[in-house]
């Protein structure tokens, strides 16, 4: 049983444009009973500000056109600096497999490439959200 409703911040870089998938995911997470906040961001600091203000359990970043590594680096660094290394960070979209290890190393626990289903994201979030220990330093 979940203690309370999971809060998820979904984000799309404003430059990235290809937001069909992430907006679909937002609908599916809501249908699964989660509270979803959707934002466009220019810089990763905006994600962190929203994550803290909205007190979310999960941050999901959609990336379709590269630039995911710098965003992941800034995002996890700033979350940790603000004492929110407990937040589950996910990335999805067109992310080359060669970058998966680097993403995980940065503290991104879930990377959902092409072909991933909304159900797999929902299951992952339910299983992993709300860590008791920091996920990244």
């Amino acid at each position: 049983m979940e203690r309370r409703i999971l809060r998820v911040l979904l984000c799309k870089g404003t430059m990235d444009a290809h937001d069909r998938g992430v907006r679909y995911l937002a609908t599916k997470l809501r249908e699964a009973g989660m509270e979803v906040i959707f934002i466009n961001f220019l810089e990763p600091s905006e994600i962190v500000d929203a994550a803290i203000q909205e007190d979310v359990d999960v941050v999901g970043v959609s990336s379709s056109v590269e630039g995911h590594l710098p965003v992941a680096r800034e995002l996890t660094r700033r979350l940790a600096a603000q004492g929110r290394a407990d937040v589950l960070v996910l990335f999805g979209g067109v992310i080359p497999e060669r970058d998966f290890p680097a993403m995980r190393e940065l503290g991104v626990e879930g990377v959902f490439g092409p072909g991933s289903t909304a159900d797999s994201v929902i299951a992952f979030v339910r299983e992993r959200a709300r860590a008791v220990r920091p996920r990244f330093a």
């Binding site: 404003t14 990235d16 290809h18 679909y24 056109v65 067109v94 092409p114 289903t117």
Partner: protein, 577 residues
């Protein structure tokens, strides 16, 4: 039977072939066929009364069509004649096929130029033997930034070329005969700065602006369905009118507005919605121009369309036929009388959204079908998506393969022999009319809400609902995607995935910094102050002064990011939803 009065002759078409007796025979044939069909359906355990198949847009279709399904008015249409359902020109592809217009753009301008030269060497051909370059700017430029902005990290030269100044235009175009090529500048809301750089560059080359051929996109209306930060709807319309007014006077060969149905269908819209919203955007912007005193017969001929060609083979063809018919009539209603002002000049972009990362080589088959459909629909130019579309920017090999698809259809299939080869097909004519009716219903809804720029939220919601339905159908296997929900294998197809050289980003940053350090600071400051003043006057309703001020600033080495910062400051810049 419906019969629409022809705006040219004023006379209603006569049911020449379709006499009463003929129609009765045709209906009798359908009854006979239906009985046979129903028996077969029952053999398959299907209730024929409730069994209805639908197009991808959700329009119900019959399992077979008959002569009486063709609207009489459709029997009296001709290629090159209003309302242009059967094509814009009497000769269609007889003397000149469609233009090859693959999208090119990645990394530094020199890298993009190498790909341009390579594809040109591979037979990429525009009209009258000239070369068309369909060039896409990078994401940083689209956002109106320069490459040294912190948010640009990892995105410079991605999804487009890193071109931010007049100097970058020189790196891209030096040596090319600007007055004999056609250049499409694929830019989003940085439309004016991009054209300003090109004009400043052309002037330094000594080439008169009225000899330049090409395209600005003026895609501001896309903020209804694309998530990028944008100008407010009204400001977007005015910025488009600014460029249109300028080009109407100074650049008669320049195409000023691109109606981007492709982006709508990629965002999830159905074919019917694509037709309706594209027309709605076009007439709304046309009205904006008319309100500023422009003559529709002068500017409408320079509007173009970029239309998607996706999976539903016949619906995608009929969509284009219906679009041509609707647009011609709408433009006529706006007061346009020149046939060219009623033309839907179409650049097809075969769908990227329906291509798959799984079993990527299958995409060659999909895009071939898309390109064939576009050719049968009689479009003017084409970009065929590459098979690695869902993976990365195209490699040289995949880009060449996509060009070959066009060339094989043009030179080997024989379909260029006859204009509108599908015209008169019972199904094609009936479906064309069905799409037309469905699109006109949506168009009426948009009009009721006050026109396109006043109902971005409605449009976004409609397109998103379609995107959701599409994905739900894929998940439920009601819609088959080979390699994704059927015929799935674990075997990976090993294809080369293109990667932009990471050094390009560093070079682009060094270049823009050097540009700022070396320019005549006083001259740049004066030019930027002029841009500020011109923007204020533009905001107050002045037409035609903003672009010239930007050209002077570009000549003084202002960058895209700097010019966009002025527009953002004065006009507003925020997420669209």
């Amino acid at each position: 039977m419906s019969s629409n009065p022809s705006p040219h002759g004023g006379k209603a078409p006569v049911d020449c072939a379709l006499t009463r007796e003929f129609l009765e025979q045709s209906r009798a044939l359908e009854r006979e066929w239906r009985a046979a069909y129903d028996r077969l359906a029952q053999k398959f355990g299907v209730d024929p009364a409730s069994h209805v198949r639908r197009t991808d847009s959700g329009l119900p279709v019959k399992p077979a069509y008959f002569a009486h399904d063709v609207p009489a008015s459709a029997c009296l249409e001709s290629p090159g004649r209003h309302p242009f359902t059967r094509g814009l020109y009497a000769a269609q592809y007889q003397f000149m096929p469609w233009a090859n217009q693959p999208v090119i753009g990645y990394g530094l301008p020199e890298e993009t130029r190498r790909r341009m030269d390579y594809l040109q060497s591979q037979g990429m051909t525009g009209y009258f033997g000239n070369t068309f370059y369909n060039l896409v700017y990078d994401l940083v430029s689209h956002e109106g930034l320069d490459p040294d902005h912190p948010a640009a990290e990892g995105r410079v030269g991605q999804c487009g070329m890193a071109v931010y100044s007049r100097e970058d235009n020189a790196r891209l175009f030096d040596g090319l005969p600007l007055d004999r090529i056609n250049v499409v500048h694929i830019s989003y809301y940085e439309n004016l700065p991009v054209l300003a750089h090109y004009l400043a560059y052309a002037r330094r080359r000594g080439i008169a602006w009225d000899r330049l051929g090409g395209n600005s996109m003026s895609w501001y209306y896309q903020s209804a369905y694309v998530g990028m930060t944008c100008f407010p709807p009204r400001a977007g319309m005015d910025l488009a009118a600014e460029l249109i007014a300028f080009c109407t006077k100074r650049m008669p060969r320049w195409n000023t507005l691109n109606l981007f149905g492709y982006g709508m269908e990629e965002a999830g819209s159905t074919a019917v919605q694509e037709v309706a919203f594209t027309v709605a955007a076009g007439i709304d912007y046309a009205r904006g121009c008319i309100a500023k005193g422009l003559d529709p017969d002068v500017f409408l001929g320079r509007f173009g369309f970029q239309i998607s060609q996706a999976n539903d083979f016949f619906e995608e063809i009929c969509k284009i036929r219906a679009l041509r018919r609707i647009w011609a009539r709408q433009c006529h209603a706006l007061g346009a009388r020149d046939p060219r002002s009623q033309h839907v000049r179409i650049h097809t972009h075969t769908s990227g959204a329906v291509l798959t990362a799984q079993q990527p080589l299958n995409n060659i088959v999909r895009t071939t079908l898309h390109a064939l459909g576009a050719a049968l629909a009689g479009v003017q130019a084409m970009e065929v998506s590459t098979f690695d579309e869902a993976l990365a920017i195209p490699t040289e090999q995949s880009a060449t393969m996509a060009l070959r698809i066009q060339q094989i259809i043009q030179d080997e299939s024989g379909i260029t022999r006859v204009a509108d080869a599908l015209g008169g097909s019972y199904y094609v004519e009936a479906l064309t009319a069905q799409i037309e009716a469905a699109a006109l219903e949506i168009l009426a809804e948009v009009e009721k809400r006050g026109g396109y720029h006043r109902c971005h939220d409605y449009i976004r919601a409609q397109i998103e609902a379609s995107a959701l339905r599409w994905r739900d159908q894929v998940d439920a296997k009601e819609r088959i995607v080979v390699g994704v929900n059927k015929y799935v294998t674990d075997e990976a197809q090993d294809v080369e995935v293109f990667r932009v050289d990471p050094a390009s980003e560093r070079t682009a940053i060094e270049r823009v910094r050097a540009l700022r350090a070396n320019r005549d600071r006083a001259r740049w400051e004066a030019a930027m102050a002029d841009v500020h003043r011109a923007t204020e006057r533009f905001k107050a309703g002045e037409v035609g002064g903003l672009l010239p001020a930007m050209v002077e600033a570009s000549d003084a080495d202002a960058t895209t990011g700097e010019l966009m910062a002025v527009l953002k400051e004065h006009l507003g810049w925020a997420p669209p939803h």
